[in-house]
Amino acid sequence: MTDTTFEPTIIGFTCNWCSYRAADLAGTARMKYAPNVRLIRLMCSGRLDPTFVLRALSQGADGVMITGCHPGECHYIEQNYKALRRYLLLKRVLKGMGIEPERVKLVWASAAEGAKFAAETTAFVEEIRKLGPLHWRKKSDQFSVISEAEQKEVAA
């Protein structure tokens, strides 16, 4: 069941040297892509602290896109591999927290790959749209006490 009116909100972390420039290039080339991603510039994908992802998800983002230089092409030599290691463990943790690991995606895009950046962004938005909203922030029902009837219902 997909919500057709659902517009995902996605936070994108981009590396200053490649993917942020790829986004710039997509802009310069006037390539159109889905408007749901809001970018944050980091110096390197290696700067990505898993806290950022958890914070984004807990603050209402439906997905997080992490982009970095291609393996072997990191401007800081090899830090994107470190991002990759964290990403893989983070995905396992998210799965354990009941979040579809597909909500966090690592994309390699070089500064020359504006088209790839645009295509990946649009594709990711569609993937998240299929997954539906994450709804982490619906505070209204977060802390409510379970009623007796509900308690019975869930127990049965």
Partner: protein, 663 residues
């Protein structure tokens, strides 16, 4: 203290205003972001114009603004502009934040409502972030005026001479026994056909005798520590087994040495040298080296013919490798290229079919100082070919090997065609995919070769074989190719095939890159700081690249890059000190527990562990600011300026501000 923030939304003509309702964004920021400290929000036609900048400067002074957000184009374009404007008005430049609403909003989205919403989110993120920005000062480090140049090919020689002539000292390190590089192997250079050795050797001699150049051949860089301005480099000076103090370069040792060895390097495997040798007559320096892999004395313990005959007693079998430490302020890497191994294209038969030659082999064949004294003959050493096929793009522009164009092969192929034609009168075929003769006087050379009667077949050669199908093919090499202009398959029998092999990064480029802390592209060439605007600098301050180490190029371009790199170095030297971007990581020693998790993460060796205090420390000048250690510190003891946790987290919250439920 509550911050006083100014928000400036740029129309960029209609570039932004055509899609984003900039007035709405500015009004919204003034209204909704007031509680975050936004005291003024303006929109303006061109913020980057001098009037736009003056507007900001005026506001900073009059409204006592403490933070600035400019919503305009990408920070890669105008971040510096607005930082300077802030500085002019007395505000620390790092308290300015750019929100990209052009490249990331107006240019990539079409729906005005959605684009305006997103622009608001981006501005909100920037405002939240700028509150957490800290005033930063640029780091200044002094520059040691000495320079290290690695690689003694034409690019390295050029770079070394430029700096040395300007009056500063250069250490020129070369792995082989002599400087000169690939250029020393060539016979003629395109398109002028002047003798390679004639133009190169004077430069080699100049480099070898220059008072400001310390030449270290048969040497390799072992270790590099330090940072721009003060690198400490350890150089391994391999044992020559020849005492340079005593050697006069008379060449008697080489003459008397009984051991003949195939010369894989200088003669490209086509000729011989001795076990003690100088690679070629004009070698600089003139001292020979001992090849311990092949020397009879090293293998069997007897011989020592060289020692017996040396008139000055310069042969020293007890020499060992020496390690030399030098202090330099800048480093230029001009480590050159390897020739693509044509054996990999097995359908061209190199290594299987005797009369298939590589380009370097042909250079030696046609070189008057080469193994055949410049006679172009078949592998039997005597037969002159009647017909020669030159195949372009061997290993280049080929998904199976290297995707890139090797740049020089077309011109090299034309040069070979000319030389074969001139010296043997043979029929010459050139098999090419596209003829690339860009640059001065190159196409004219192509025209000249055309007029000389060289035959050109446009098509990728499928196979070179000795399997004859018809009687006229017997005993020949048959080139099977598609002729895309004639639109048919052709089989052309020839006596000799020359493969215009492409250029490849040095086999050890990755390790060398790691040693100096610079990166390689997927192809393996060293990555420049900017492919167009900064082609000789690298991401690591103080390390420059020149020549083919950066990518395939011909001699004029290599020379130009060598000179360009040296200009950059001279600029640094003359400034005496260098300002570094203040995006750096630092350790709070109170919080650091010395767990050492970050210790293995830094490719720049900026993270040091203090054994005594059992805490980690970051060398600010070595740190390049990638932030990996900041993200990795489990104790939260490492913080990074410019991209601090507080800044990023605030930006996340700002981008996700609840009232911005987008679209």
């Amino acid at each position: 203290m509550t911050e006083r923030i100014g928000v400036y939304v740029c129309h960029c003509g209609s570039n932004i205003a055509g899609v984003v309702d900039v007035v709405d964004v500015a009004n919204w920021a003034a209204e909704k972001l007031g509680r975050q400290g936004v005291v003024i929000a303006r929109e303006y036609k061109f913020m980057c114009s001098s009037l736009g900048q003056e507007l900001i400067e005026k506001d900073i002074k009059e409204l006592r603004l403490t933070r600035i957000v400019v919503a305009a184009c990408s920070p890669h374009l105008h971040e510096k502009t607005f930082r300077i404007a802030a500085k002019n008005a007395g505000l620390n430049p790092y308290l300015v934040e750019l929100a990209s609403i052009r490249e990331q909003v107006s240019w990539v989205h079409t729906d005005k409502t959605v684009a305006t919403q997103k622009a608001k989110a981006v501005v909100s993120g920037a405002v939240s972030r700028v509150i957490e920005n800290q005033a930063l000062d640029e780091l200044k480090v002094p520059i040691n005026p000495n320079t290290l140049v690695v690689g003694g090919g034409i690019a390295g020689i050029q770079a070394a001479l430029e700096i040395a002539n300007a009056g500063f000292h250069v250490y020129l390190v070369e792995r082989e026994p002599s400087i000169g590089g690939h250029m020393a192997q060539f016979d003629k250079t395109f398109p002028t056909l002047d003798c390679s050795a004639c133009i190169l050797t004077p430069r080699m001699v100049e480099a070898g005798t220059h008072p400001n150049i310390t030449l270290m051949t048969w040497s390799e860089v072992e270790k590099v520590t330090g940072y721009v301005g003060s690198f400490n480099v350890t150089i391994r000076k391999k044992a020559r087994f020849v005492n340079e103090e005593l050697c006069t370069g008379c060449g008697i040792c080489e003459e008397k040495c009984p051991k003949k060895v195939i010369d894989d390097v200088y003669e490209a495997g086509l000729g011989y040298r001795k076990a003690v040798y100088t690679p070629f007559a004009q070698a600089v320096p003139k001292y020979p080296v001992m090849d311990t892999q092949n020397c009879t004395y090293f293998l069997k313990g007897t011989c020592k013919a060289c020692e017996k005959f040396c008139p000055t007693g310069a042969i020293d079998f007890n020499q060992t490798d020496q390690f030399i430490n030098v202090e330099v302020g800048n480093i230029i890497l001009a480590t050159g290229y390897d020739l693509f191994d044509a054996r990999k294209v097995s359908n061209y038969g190199y290594g299987r079919l005797p009369n298939v030659f590589t380009s370097l082999e042909f250079e030696r064949l046609s070189n008057a100082a080469g193994p055949t004294n410049g006679n172009i003959v078949l592998r039997d050493g005597k037969t002159t070919p009647q017909s020669v096929g030159i195949i372009h793009c061997v290993g280049s522009r080929d998904r199976n090997f290297n995707n890139y164009c090797s740049v020089i092969c077309c011109m090299q192929g034309l040069k070979f065609a000319h030389l074969v034609h001139e010296r043997t009168g043979a029929t010459v075929y050139n098999f090419y995919i596209d003829m690339r003769t860009a640059y001065k006087a190159y196409d004219e050379f192509y025209q000249r070769v055309l007029e000389e009667g060289t035959l050109f077949v446009r098509g990728k050669v499928a196979e070179v074989t000795d399997a004859a199908r018809h009687s006229n093919e017997k005993g020949k090499l048959i080139i099977q190719t598609e002729d895309t202009l004639a639109g048919k398959q052709r089989r052309i029998p020839v006596d000799m095939v020359i493969l215009s092999s492409g250029l490849q990064p040095r086999h050890d480029a990755k390790e060398v890159g790691k040693l100096f802390g610079i990166s390689c592209s997927t192809d393996g060439w060293f990555t420049e700081k900017h492919p167009k605007l900064d082609p000789v600098a690298t991401m690591t301050e103080g390390i420059y690249i020149a020549g083919c180490a950066q990518g395939p190029k011909d001699i004029p371009s290599s020379v130009a890059q060598g000179a360009a790199a040296s200009a950059r170095v001279l600029d640094k030297i003359l400034q005496k000190e260098v300002a570094l971007e203040p995006v750096r990581a630092s350790v709070d020693k109170e919080k650091c527990s010395g767990c050492r998790i970050c210790n293995g993460l830094c490719p720049y060796h900026a993270i040091l562990f203090l054994e005594k205090e059992q805490v980690t420390e970051i060398n600010l000048a070595l740190c390049q600011g990638c932030g990996t250690c900041v993200a990795a510190c489990p104790a939260g003891a490492i913080s990074g300026t410019g991209f601090s946790n507080e800044q990023i987290l605030a930006q996340i919250d700002g981008l996700l501000m609840e009232n911005l439920e987008m679209v």
